[in-house]
Symmetry: C2
Subunit: 515 residues, 2 copies
């Protein structure tokens, strides 16, 4: 068993027990979990960033193979924690053990997926345009470019994924893969889980003989550490998953009030509309009700992809009643934190008291019509928890108006027959402009970690709607295009050398070339 | 000859002569150039944006081949303007005719390069991960993604490239190529050139039977139109090349004060450091002096890539004296606008009066030492015009300190021998963190339009330092990743269909596949 120390991890040493305190808390039993944790102080924040900056000089020059070894070592170290990690995470989050085992597997799987990507190496999008000294009127230079690491990255652990979106989660994995040192700000809801994973990473840094500044883990009882990190001049990018208010505050600090703005990827808020078209309703109504109920209530609804809005034909009374019955009979689940639970209860209560909203069955399914929804922007706000709002439409025009009114989303789901897809082509086109991922005849919860995944979407789904935080496309958030003009072959990165020593895919004089 | 009308082009019609007025001005002769131009009114701005929004529904669905045809038609129409365009541009900018002919060729060349890219089609980075219904514990969905157009884009014409960075310049070409309607805010310094090119584009929209909202051109005597455009909820991205103050103001409006921030690419300020290492100084001193002089004074120094800072060994007196002689004997050139000329003169005068700065020869070459430079941040600010500042260093450590002090740059140039490159590896590594393009033994002016070019760099070189505004990589600024999960093959974009009907390069289950 690991002796949890309750202090930040700064490179290869531990911070002092000087800052404000926080403590793990078991939301199922209401008990505090030892040890007491201490926030990093201002000078400890600076120390971690200076170490990361120094480490960048070395880590940015490592090969894909070296980074792959490091990522795989992290995965092995996390797996070696075994039950200790699951038990602690379960105490701190009340998430069931099977879910936490799956999440551990996913976390290690994505570390290994990024290892494969950087070991293979083609992700850098190497491009070579050969020069021509004899071109008229001016000689043509030799121009070569690729993606290079951006610099030290700050990652914010998320409450709802203590493993897959936290200390060694997708943001850290993609930043490490790109060649960037990472400083994680631990989420206060699972400090012990964070320490265990943090030690696993620090051990991998050490075991791979990398500079200690490649990784630090800082605790923060409030938001001082978070803000100090995103404002630090040597931090070059950041990733966050959490509330709209929290994400926006960090975005302001990183982008708007910083003298030199940095890319900041905040995933904040999404109600993940589910559009049910007439053909699907005719053909598979009960199946959709059952799948929707499962998706809405999965993990107490604590997913960014939770379907919080269902657009449904106004005559689908049976659909609504059946969904209401299922929701009413769903056992209550412990939520992640008292704050999330309180916020959910307030949100539910506001909907119950909303004049234009009908409460169906128990307290988690709500229903309103198109004009009421369009007139009440508060109904389009995310309500984090196992609840959803059905908005009825009378015809296609009203459905289009509803979709037009939506903010940016992580996902949009369409249930339809293949004929519906043809007849409602404009609906699909409009949903594409609103979301990063379109799901057909499925449900938005469950985000596959793969090469093609896009987990992102226009604001406020994310603060940077062109990118993805899940899957291998995520690596591009923490990399930048750099170009080398007329460099001697030996001084170029291996990816751009004439011989293509790494055997990667490249674009040479405009043609794709695979060794 | 075209009858210039002096009003904004809104789709297929002309705006009224109602807004505030502006007029072309010949900086060589001091005379106003007819006609009088009228700013777009608020309702005309809204009309252009509404048209662009409506056009997006159609234009975003066009094939690469259709967009290629449109881009090529624009190039043909511009070429058909012939001497009329050159004459008007020369009157409005005082740029010499040969330069304007080259710039026209470059403008048409980049339109055709983007046509080739979208006709070929692989730029969309299509990715397919096949599903597996039998996977345990959960079935694996079929996930496919690609880059899709982002929506209506606003482009700001630049003063210093009346063609290549203006109405049909790189930003417009890349946005059109990605599938986005474009609204250009004409630069007030060349309204007639803008109108000629704007009519050429509108004619191509018409000739290709595209919806009129694909293109509008708006005039603005102040900044009301500019701000109204970037604040408009239906505008989805923007591109700007110009001053730091102007770029920052638009960035604030587009990103910070907008309820839903959009990507905004402002290219603002760069002093393009040139580092001269000892080996190069020994081997090619005179050659470097002559090349540097040419680069500093090219086009009256009115390039974003103008080398405004030279880092040189303190004992290189001969180098400085020779450069001073060349600068002193350079004939004065007419600058683009009275405002640019006045600002340049003020900047030169401030440097002449700077206690720690030595004026060499005439008034355009300045010299200071490392400690003075580090203590005077104003010396690191861009001075737009044919001037440069030599900063001397005593040793490698001082050179590294100087580089560390720099803000983000579009380019960084190294003159060295191959031995220098080995010995000063850390200098090259540091320069990479500061700039988008590294030039070896050359000069930064002259930006090749090709696949590998990166014209961008960390703030304040650009407000978004991971991207490029020149070359085919520029297309990604105006596109976003979109993912389709479990869609029937027939409802997918052609790029993602099983048969690969377009024959493009794709990443299928993690492997690059070329048809």
């Amino acid at each position: 068993m690991t002796d949890l120390q309750g202090t930040s991890i700064i490179g290869f040493h531990r911070a002092g027990p000087n800052g404000k305190t926080l403590q793990g808390f078991n939301p199922a039993t209401g008990e505090n979990l030892p040890p007491v944790y201490h926030s990093a102080t201002g000078s400890e924040v600076d120390e971690a960033v200076q170490l990361a900056h120094a480490a960048f000089a070395v880590y940015s020059q490592t090969t894909g193979a070296e980074r792959a070894r490091f990522l795989r070592r992290i995965a092995e170290n996390i797996e070696a924690l075994g039950d200790e990690l699951i038990t602690r995470a379960n105490s701190e989050t009340a998430l069931p053990e099977p879910r936490l085992r799956n999440e551990t597997a996913r976390t290690c799987g994505q570390l290994r997926l990024f290892a494969d990507v950087v070991e293979e190496g083609s992700w850098v999008d190497a491009r070579i345009d050969h020069g021509d000294r004899d071109r008229k009127p001016l000689p043509k230079p030799d121009v070569r470019s690729m993606f290079r690491p951006i610099g030290p990255v700050v990652v914010f652990g998320a409450s709802n994924f203590p493993l897959a979106f936290s200390v060694a989660g997708g943001d850290s994995a993609s930043a490490f893969a790109a060649g960037d040192p990472v400083i994680v700000k631990a989420h206060p809801a699972h400090p012990g889980t964070s320490e265990l994973v943090g030690l696993a990473i620090a051990d991998a840094v050490h075991g791979c003989a990398l500079p200690e500044g490649v990784f630090s883990l800082l605790y923060d009882a409030g938001n001082e550490v978070a803000l100090a990190l995103v404002k630090h001049p040597l931090i070059k990018a950041g990733g966050f998953t959490g509330s709209r208010a929290g994400g926006r505050a960090l975005f302001e600090a990183a982008v708007c009030s910083r003298p030199n703005p940095i890319p900041f990827y905040a995933e904040m808020s999404s109600i993940n509309p589910v559009v049910i078209l007439p053909g699907a309703l005719r053909e598979r109504s009960d199946q959709i009700v059952s799948g929707l109920h499962g998706s809405v209530t999965l993990g107490a609804g604590q997913f960014c992809t939770n379907p919080g809005l269902v657009l449904l034909s106004e005559d689908a009374h049976d659909f609504v009643n059946k969904l209401g019955d299922l929701m009413t009979n769903t056992p209550e689940q412990t939520m992640l934190t008292p704050a999330i639970s309180a916020s959910y209860k307030n949100g539910v209560s506001a909907r119950m008291n909303h004049a234009g909203v009908q409460t169906i069955g128990g307290a988690a399914l709500f229903k309103t019509d198109s004009s009421q929804f369009l007139a009440s922007p508060e109904l389009a706000a995310e309500l984090f928890g196992p609840s959803t709002l059905v908005v009825t439409y009378t015809d296609r025009q009203q459905l289009i108006e509803l979709i037009n009114s939506l903010e940016g989303q992580l996902t949009a789901t369409i249930h339809g027959s293949e004929e519906d897809l043809l007849e409602y082509k404009e609906v699909v086109r409009l949903l594409e402009t609103k979301a990063g991922r379109l799901v057909f005849n499925g449900f938005p919860t469950g985000v596959e970690v793969c090469h093609a995944m896009v987990h992102g979407g226009p604001y406020p789904a994310t603060s940077e709607g062109r990118s993805s935080s899940v899957g291998t496309r995520a690596i591009y958030r923490f990399a930048r295009q750099v170009c080398f003009q007329d460099f001697p072959n030996s001084a170029l990165p291996a990816e751009l050398q004439d011989e293509n020593p790494l055997g990667i895919r490249r674009l040479v004089d405009g043609e794709t070339s695979i060794k």
